[in-house]
């Protein structure tokens, strides 16, 4: 057999073979890989729509496609990236894989529900793809009424159904994580010893559970309105289209925190490991996750400042939006304090983590611009908003996702990826990302509206820069696809703790056995208990 001493004989990947053993698995680790495969597919599909958008925007005229087609491009890009990639990404892949192991459990609380949630996700994704093939949707991912409920001629109900179904996948994942963390922690694993990855996933689960049902019923109402013309969002019949926006954003704002909070959990793990130090202010970071989850539900009206929402309500939402920035800032300061006098090394995951901190900070600060009523009135629906959320979602969430994938890749596969290519693609991604989206801040501030396929000539230079950046970014994403798959077969065997990190997942083999541990661990030390001499303290 293999000559290395480190790969275990039997582990969760080779314990049985065959399609049925994967499609009917109850092992949270295999389910995580099922998600990884399908999410990767949707990521590149969403990316394809982004390519088409950026191609059109290379020239000021609408010469690549008609306006209606362009509307479908940005709608499908948004729908696929948000609902079928970003929201599930870290929780369904890294969360599913790591939550039970990090707390010392054999599996999630409800393994069959876990598998069901993947199947639900596939059904929802299939329905949405049918909507794409049948001609797409052109309402924007936000499905604003009365266009979506009354006037749109595209496949609103079909796409809405796909999202509705996938919402249940989200709810089940959140439910599973929440119950697992509450009831299945190993002896000695108190709340204060939990990795911050767990705290952030716990907080994310709260949001998934309390928010997703509201968007579900909202989609149902839009569908009912389309079929029966009931008037619930139609002004002609006494309805209020803004009510849709309230219901939609009640979920969709927490949804953006669902997308970023797990990435923040990843970053905490990476910063601690690659500084060889416990995260500074552990309790502050843990509670800030909960604070983000709670406060995130109070701010949705900041998406509606110019929608005829009452200015008094807007005032309240604006102030609350400033408040919700505080816990995020607390995290950033604590990560920086962790780095200070730490023993820092620059493996691929750390490059992603560093990139995250800078890009998330920019994204977050520009969020404060948008929370300011007087500024938002001018930049709402411009590329300033587009740049803001891409800094958070791509510069933040996706870099967190990739950093986590690389960090735990040795654990998940038992193999090492090639470090040179890892670092190279991280840098390419960082450069490509900034080239793509920084110009968009400038464009937006100068007034270029979003969701338009034409623009005045004087903005072409910045748009071309952005498209060039997107090409670089695309290459940056393709390279890991290649070497990660390559490493599954040809990578060096990893050993149980390649990074020398703290955490229960590093105390079992790589890959882990099906039941995660040979013996249920007993936890006796605090989280991130790196030896003092490992860091340069004093």
């Amino acid at each position: 057999m293999e000559t290395s001493t480190v790969e275990p004989r039997e582990h969760y990947l080779n314990v049985n073979y065959g399609v049925r053993s994967w499609l009917l698995t109850k092992d949270h680790k295999r389910i995580a890989l099922l998600y990884l495969a399908s999410l990767t597919f949707f990521f590149f599909l969403g990316g394809l729509f982004a390519v088409l958008i950026r191609l059109e925007l290379m020239t000021p005229a609408g010469d690549l496609m008609q306006a209606e087609t362009y509307n479908k491009m940005f709608t499908m890009h948004g729908v696929i990236m948000i609902f079928f990639f970003l929201i599930p990404s870290i929780p369904a892949v890294l969360g599913n894989f790591l939550v039970p192991i990090m707390i010392g459990a054999r599996d999630m609380a409800f393994p069959r529900l876990n598998l069901l949630s993947w199947y639900i996700y596939i059904v929802g994704g299939t329905l949405t793809m049918i909507a794409v093939v049948a001609g797409g949707v052109d309402t924007g991912w936000t499905f604003y009424t009365p266009y979506s409920s009354t006037y749109a001629n595209s496949n609103v109900v079909l796409a809405g159904l796909g999202i509705f179904v996938t919402g249940f996948s989200s709810i089940l994942t959140g439910l599973n994580i929440l119950v697992t963390v509450h009831t299945m922690r190993a002896p000695g694993m108190t709340w204060s010893r939990l990795p911050l990855f767990i705290w952030s996933h716990y907080a994310t689960s709260i949001m998934m559970i309390l928010g997703t049902p509201v968007v579900a019923i909202t989609i149902v109402l839009v569908a009912v309105e389309r079929f029966f013309r009931i008037g619930i969002f139609d002004p002609n019949l006494g309805g209020d289209p803004v009510l849709f926006q309230h219901l939609f954003w009640f979920y969709s704002h927490p949804a953006v925190y669902i997308m970023i909070l797990p990435a923040m959990g990843v970053i905490s793990e990476l910063i601690a490991c690659f500084s060889r130090k416990a995260i500074f202010g552990y309790h502050f970071v843990a509670f800030s996750s909960i604070a983000i989850a709670v406060l995130g539900f109070f701010v949705w009206g900041h998406h509606m400042f110019v929608s005829s929402q009452s200015v008094y309500a807007s005032l309240v939402f604006s102030i609350l939006s400033f408040l919700v920035a505080i816990p995020s800032a607390i995290k950033v300061f604590n990560w920086l304090s962790t780095l200070y006098k730490g023993s820092i090394s620059y493996a691929t995951p750390m490059i992603y983590a560093m990139g995250f901190i800078g890009l998330f900070t920019i994204g977050g600060l520009t969020g404060l611009f948008l929370a300011t009523l007087a500024i938002d009135v001018h930049v709402h629906d411009t590329y300033f908003v587009v740049a803001h959320f891409h800094y958070i979602m791509v510069g933040g969430a996706i870099m967190g996702y990739l950093g986590g994938i690389h960090f735990w890749w040795p654990k998940i596969t038992g193999r090492l990826y090639p470090e040179f290519w890892g670092r190279l693609s991280a840098m390419i991604i960082f450069i490509g990302f900034n080239l793509t989206f920084y110009p968009q801040f400038l464009l937006g501030y100068m007034g270029m509206p979003r969701r338009y396929h034409v623009y005045p000539d004087e903005w072409q230079v910045l748009n071309v820069m952005s498209t060039a950046g997107a090409s670089v970014l695309g290459i940056g994403y393709l390279i890991p696809m290649i070497y990660l798959i390559w490493s599954m077969r040809y990578g060096k065997p990893a050993g149980s703790n390649h990074w020398g990190a703290k955490g229960l997942e590093w105390e079992t083999t790589s890959p882990p056995p099906t039941d995660n541990f040979a013996v249920t661990p007993v936890v006796t030390e605090e989280a991130y208990a790196y030896a003092p001499q490992e860091a340069h303290i004093g």
Partner: protein
């Protein structure tokens, strides 16, 4: 699993109370007390719900965690209602002159 076992007698008592409350809410609906009608109807509905939750659903004998979960869900519903209404109820307010 050891859980407190509620007796059929208690269940029947709660059922009787729920019937009385149902009769009351229907009866009150026929009397015109203006805005108070809605308040009374909601108070009765909440009382019925509390009885079902505490006794039929055994929450009276459940853990603190269960109560926090229920409290959280109810609060979140109230949050959705309150903040959405903060828009609708203040749309008609006049701007303060001179600002």
């Amino acid at each position: 699993m050891a859980q407190h076992i509620v007796t059929p007698k208690t269940y029947l008592q709660v059922f009787a109370a729920l019937m009385v409350l149902t009769a009351t809410t229907v009866g009150v609906a026929f009397i015109d007390w203006g805005a108070l009608n809605t308040v009374i109807a909601l108070v009765i509905a909440v009382t019925k719900a509390i009885l079902v939750v505490l006794i039929f659903m055994h929450v009276r004998y459940s853990s603190q965690l269960t109560r926090i979960v229920i409290g959280g869900g109810v609060c979140w519903l109230l949050l959705l209602i309150a903040l959405t209404l903060s828009d609708y109820l203040t749309r008609g307010w006049q701007a303060v002159m001179g600002w």
